[in-house]
Subunit: 434 residues, 2 copies
């Protein structure tokens, strides 16, 4: 038996706003940040669990405070029984009645629960000597459904039905693991599509994306229809007629505007429109989906929990579910999202980018392929070539595919030097910009 003896939190910020990478219609100047947590035990192995919540700058300190508020849930407690029953651990973190009031199960407090459970997952996978996706993919269907809180889901998916989804996937698991180890998981790139890039840069990056083997590109839209039309024409010409192009409005529109704007762009046949309107607007997304078919609606990076995901699926609002590694309540809730998507036959194409989101979310897509959906069809993980150098085990992209990670853990551990250098001290230093 060992005990959790230390929980360190850090406010880590990167000065990304200086170069305007990551600018979109709603987020003009993000400073990609991580509210970071390290869980240490008194075991001889010295293994730590690392995880974080991704934010975009100001307020990262509030997110750190929320993680600190969960300290008493695990500090000084025995670690083995908690790692053994991660479903119960998740419920303990998210159902603390006093803390739950601050959401419930949404926003800063819910993301904090996600960071703590994800740090425990990192610890568990490292102890098992396995990358997280393989650890999850080796669990029995019963063990997997035990991770999920089916409360409030039963009108769409209950434990038994989830179990049968996982049991159907049992036979081919080994072959799909092999396939991932051989060919990886397809990625798409958002790098060409930032709003403030020049037309020349857009054209060049689109062509490079195809040459690099990516399966799809994505362009930010929503600030100006003439600009969007011009940029989509450039992109479509650069990648060819059949190459998938997604577009992303970052919640810029009201419902009616989303429908008319997207229909004005339909000649470029985008594969999906991401975040056409406010992420809380389930009915709005459903109306948009009906109004722009066969173009699909995608959302998820701001979707707070499994109850909203359930409704997006029930209402036919989305053709693509975009899970996010740190928005909802961590690995456990994301497994609920994967099971819900499988039930409704909707592909999961994770949101990534920011800092560390690619590293974290790849494990979920790979687990999904091996043990849940059994398919890579219409499925791609977002990839942005940004800040990976700060991770101990950064993602590796080869021929436009995520290479299956082999290092034990959840890939969520930053390099000690990066943690130290980018710990927020009230302003960005000149060093921080190099």
């Amino acid at each position: 038996m060992s005990t959790i003896v230390r929980i360190d939190t850090r406010d880590i910020r990167f000065p990304t706003s200086i170069h305007l990478d990551g600018s979109d219609a709603m987020n003009p100047d993000p400073d990609y940040s991580a509210a970071y947590v390290v869980i240490s035990t008194d075991a001889d192995d010295g293994i730590e669990g690392h995880a974080f919540v991704f934010t975009i700058g100001r307020g990262n300190d509030v997110q750190v405070a929320a993680i600190d508020a969960l300290r008493d849930q695990i500090l000084g407690k025995e670690v083995e029984p908690r790692l053994l029953d991660m479903g119960e651990m998740w419920r303990t973190l998210t159902h603390d009645s006093q803390l739950r009031w601050l959401g419930p199960e949404k926003g800063v407090m819910h993301m904090a629960s996600g960071a703590v459970i994800n740090a425990l997952w990192d610890l568990k996978a490292k102890r098992a000597g396995l990358p997280l996706w393989q650890l999850l993919a080796q669990m029995t269907p019963e063990e997997i459904v035990d991770l999920v809180d089916f409360r409030y889901l039963s009108d769409a998916l209950d434990r038994e039905e989830a179990l049968s989804i996982l049991e159907i996937a049992l036979p081919g698991r080994a072959a799909r693991v092999e396939e991932l180890l051989t060919t990886g998981y397809p990625a798409y790139t958002t790098s060409p599509g930032w709003l403030r890039y020049s037309d020349e840069k857009l054209d060049r990056l689109c062509r490079r994306a195809v040459a690099d083997g990516f399966s799809q590109i994505k362009l930010k839209v929503g600030a100006n229809l003439d600009d969007d039309t011009r940029r989509l024409r450039i992109a479509r010409k650069a990648v060819g007629e059949d190459f998938p192009i997604a577009v992303d409005a970052n919640q810029r529109w009201d419902v009616g505007e989303a429908i008319s704007w997207m229909n004005a762009l339909k000649e470029f046949h985008p594969v999906w429109i991401e975040e056409p309107t406010n992420s809380d607007d389930i009915l709005g997304h459903a109306t948009i989906a009906r109004g722009i078919a066969p173009m699909a609606v995608a959302t998820g990076e701001h979707v707070e929990n499994r109850i909203v995901v359930k409704q997006l699926l029930q209402s036919g609002a989305i053709g693509v579910l975009q899970i996010d590694a740190t928005r909802a309540g961590g690995i456990n809730e994301n497994i609920a999202h994967l099971l819900l998507a499988a039930k409704f036959g909707i592909p999961v194409c994770p949101h990534a980018g920011g800092v560390g989101l690619c590293e974290a979310v790849q494990h979920l897509s790979m687990f999904d392929f091996v043990a849940v959906s059994r398919s890579k069809e219409g499925r791609v993980i977002e990839y942005i070539d940004h800040l990976h150098e700060h991770f101990v085990h950064p993602v590796v992209i080869e021929r436009g595919h995520y290479v299956a990670p082999l290092a034990p853990g959840a890939s969520t551990q930053m390099r000690a030097e990066s943690i130290e250098e980018y710990t927020w001290r009230g302003e960005f230093s000149l060093m921080g910009e190099t």
Copy 2:
């Protein structure tokens, strides 16, 4: 011109869990708390703006940290232009792109925006020498719609339609103010209905509620159907056949369970079931509403913002909207809620209780009556006799009605002695319990 020179925040907690008042099916041991903010200027009048977010204990420090994160938005800024354009002020607070990421517009960060704008409303009303409800009710329809952010609402309600709702209400404003000053606003009491009270106490408090002139009582339900049946039988017998009884499940049920449970209680014809399931489950509430008609569904105390309120109304999910003074983005967002409810013809019956929620929300119902809905029919404000003594201008209940407050401000200022005594210092002192 004067300048905002100080923003003080406080973590204030009352040890209410000790007496088990306020216990329900989901919140067994709340310690009613306030993340409290005071805005001071350098004006000679010495007037301060006071407001708070209500929480139930642990995590109140996180809520305070979120309010602190908004400090730079107003500290050192001129106050008059901000008080003059409170709509723009609200958008500045809620649309800061980096802080918005932490919601968006939900949870800890959004409630923090609400506290800051509400403190400015308190300041504005005190400067005007008016109680907040009268200040609001004296604004022109144009000034009122300027307070509201119609983004994401236009598929249900736009500025023009909101304007016409307010214009229709113009003629009778003076008479309705008179009526409020004479008779107040009807209240209902939740005091009889806490889960852990004995049957004898339930019976006694029900009879007292009728004798005291309340318009309705409410009972907590959802822990055990046999208990609920017995308690409702006692209550129904105590108050008589025609007296309205509401019930409140505090999100205890899944959708199917809510329908069957409520149909098992229908012989007691409750006027509404409050929070039958998770507050994020719009479609679930709509299904429940269809499954239990003519009993109505009520929700709102955990509803994060106007976009969710819009959908609850669009989908026919609720027969009663329960706004909360500190859950959403403050007065401005609650005015959006009132306008949406008026558009859909749904009565607003505020959630209150906790600490200071009665004081704060009475102003919104009175403004609603004077300038928006023009009606008190089917409308009651929750009242719980709890912690009012800590406020400089506590609510006054006479013959089961809220007496219209006359003191300048938003009634959200606590007594200095209470602030001092109940400021959280890591544990509840014995003094704190007296």
